[in-house]
């Protein structure tokens, strides 16, 4: 147990003060989602791992945990992509180039790059799950020689909800990336694959010993994707998931993000599947 006498006065930190970052780029990319590029006050790097999150702050409304969408290999700025679903995010919708956004973090644990090095990377993104996974995808692309195959499965409800379309087109054009995009509800212009994301899994040819999967999507998606992977005898400890919770503090105190006994904001949001599969509140 940590005791008062073990703590020195200078160990205390002011945990709740945001850093004001300048919006240097902003674009509404779908009806619901807006992309932002942000710069730290002195142009320094945020210093994050792929998969980590920040607390975004708008004075007068509050804070919300938001995934970092850019790779740490991108220097001088970082990117967020925010779905407008609540009070705060609807205020953030109005933020444009030149505005200041409050940021705390980065917080938590991202993808363990050391465990992914040299491995085939299977990305499975549902909806805005692509936002945090994009930080990993671009990290792999920026360090392409350090990884094996890069396979990206991305599913959205409809073609209009697909994020980062231009970037996906670039990924598709590369010979060293395998990209499979699917939508549940196609429109007339859609020529691609139709169906939920799990329909993309059976056809995959994977080397089970060298493939690591990173899954992010709506809560309902995890069960079915993991079931499909397991029907291919995919190893549990080769699966990483990123979980959404309502982190209020980001520093393991406020209790909102607790999944049974663990704090998602500290131990996650990225977890190895073996660490959470026994936790009933996780998926």
């Amino acid at each position: 147990m940590k005791r008062l006498q073990d703590v020195k006065t200078n160990e205390a930190v002011d945990l709740y003060y945001p850093t004001m970052c300048k919006v240097i780029g902003a674009k509404q990319i779908t009806e619901m989602e807006k992309w932002y590029e942000l710069q730290m006050p002195a142009g320094q790097d945020l210093g994050h791992e792929p998969g980590q999150f920040v607390e975004v702050s708008a004075f007068g409304i509050g804070e919300a945990p938001i995934s970092i969408s850019s790779s740490p290999s991108k220097k001088g700025s970082f990117e967020l992509c925010i779905r407008q679903v609540g009070m705060l995010t609807n205020v953030l919708k109005k933020y444009k180039q030149g505005d200041m956004m409050g940021i705390r973090g980065p917080f938590g644990h991202g993808y363990p790059i050391d465990k992914l090095l040299g491995k085939d990377i299977l990305i499975i993104a549902g909806g805005i799950g692509l936002v945090p996974l994009r930080s990993l995808i671009n990290y792999v692309l920026d360090n392409r020689q350090d990884f094996g195959r890069l396979i990206i499965l991305y599913g959205a409800k409809s073609p209009a909800e697909l994020l980062f379309k231009e970037e996906i087109a670039v990924w598709e054009s590369r010979e060293d990336v395998e990209v499979y995009v699917t939508v549940d509800q196609p429109d007339d212009s859609w020529t691609g694959h139709t169906g939920v994301i799990t329909t993309l899994i059976p056809g995959l040819k994977l080397n089970l010993d060298t493939t690591m999967a990173a899954i992010t999507g709506p809560p309902i998606m995890y069960k079915f994707v993991i079931m499909s992977l397991k029907s291919k005898q995919f190893h549990d400890d080769h699966i990483y998931v990123s979980l959404e919770r309502r982190m209020k503090c980001g520093v393991g105190k406020c209790g909102h993000c607790q999944i049974n006994g663990i704090y998602c904001c500290q131990d996650g949001p990225v977890f190895n599947y073996t660490d959470i599969k026994a936790l009933e509140e996780a998926l």
Binding site: M20, I61, G261
Partner: protein, 344 residues
Amino acid sequence: MECFSLLRADVPALIDHLGKFGEVVAPHGKGDVSYSFEVVQNSKDVVLDYNRTLLPLKKQFLPPIEKLMDFSLKDLSFKPIELEIKPKVFFAIHSYEMQSILRLDHSMLSGHVESNYLTRRKNSRFVGISFTPDDFHFSESVGIGIQEMEGFDLFLSELDDDFQLFVLTENGRSLIQSFKSMKTAEVEVEVKHEFKKKIRYHYNRLPKIFQYAYHSDVWANVAERCVGCGACTLTCPTCFCFDVSDEVGVTAEDGLRQRSWDSCMLSTFAEVAGGENFREKTINRTRHRLFRKFKYITDEEGLPWCVGCGRCTAFCPAGISLPDIVNELIQEDEKAQYHKTIRV
């Protein structure tokens, strides 16, 4: 251990003397049946025989609402709060209350160290007092006796209607320096009070009970009676969950960010944007509360995170009793063991 005898009539003089160190906070009567920790104005108003205060001592270290910053909406700047933290002596504190502060220390000081909490803690002194357990106290069941003195600087132990004053730390010694109204005495600890409320097993055996309690039928019974008001967590001395929120002034030019006590027993506590709720049902929440007290932190630190003050039970509008829940889990486990034996 240094020990003095102190007459009950001289306690107000001791309180006045402690005032030299800083503000003295002590139990006061509130209405006919309730007590609360208040700053002492007149040392004769301090109540020495009280069962429990409504709100625990955590309030003094983690205020129910604490301002984190002022901000301006005109230029989007913010100003951190400059805390003025005065030295305080907490007087006539029960052993379980002190143990709750030691547990809060762990929660607030491990990992990220909370600055306001740390400053308040470093500037406080504690004077304990023995108490007579009522129908709700069960601290002995979680390993905290009436005379448990860990964490205190001084301790008043009732003896023949007067007190023995134990000096436990250097800080304690300097608190009573030059205080004359007491005499050196032989250590004599009177143990006459029995706890009426008990958890049937020694707390060492509870981790085993909670290991298999997740799918117990007991939770549904509790959830059926629980009204989800959150009184149990607000009055719990080791609960510390909070919310962070902004308030804007009437002119809409400035505002403040604050944190306030929150409760995992409230229905929206684990809800995320878009409406997904990870502890949607009352049964999930009642179980979470008990697991927070007897499993999650306990597995790591080896101590129950419940200190047996009895507040959650005494103040529950639906009459839900925490020790009874634990006893029901024990009973259920015993039944399961019994059936297992028969089957073999």
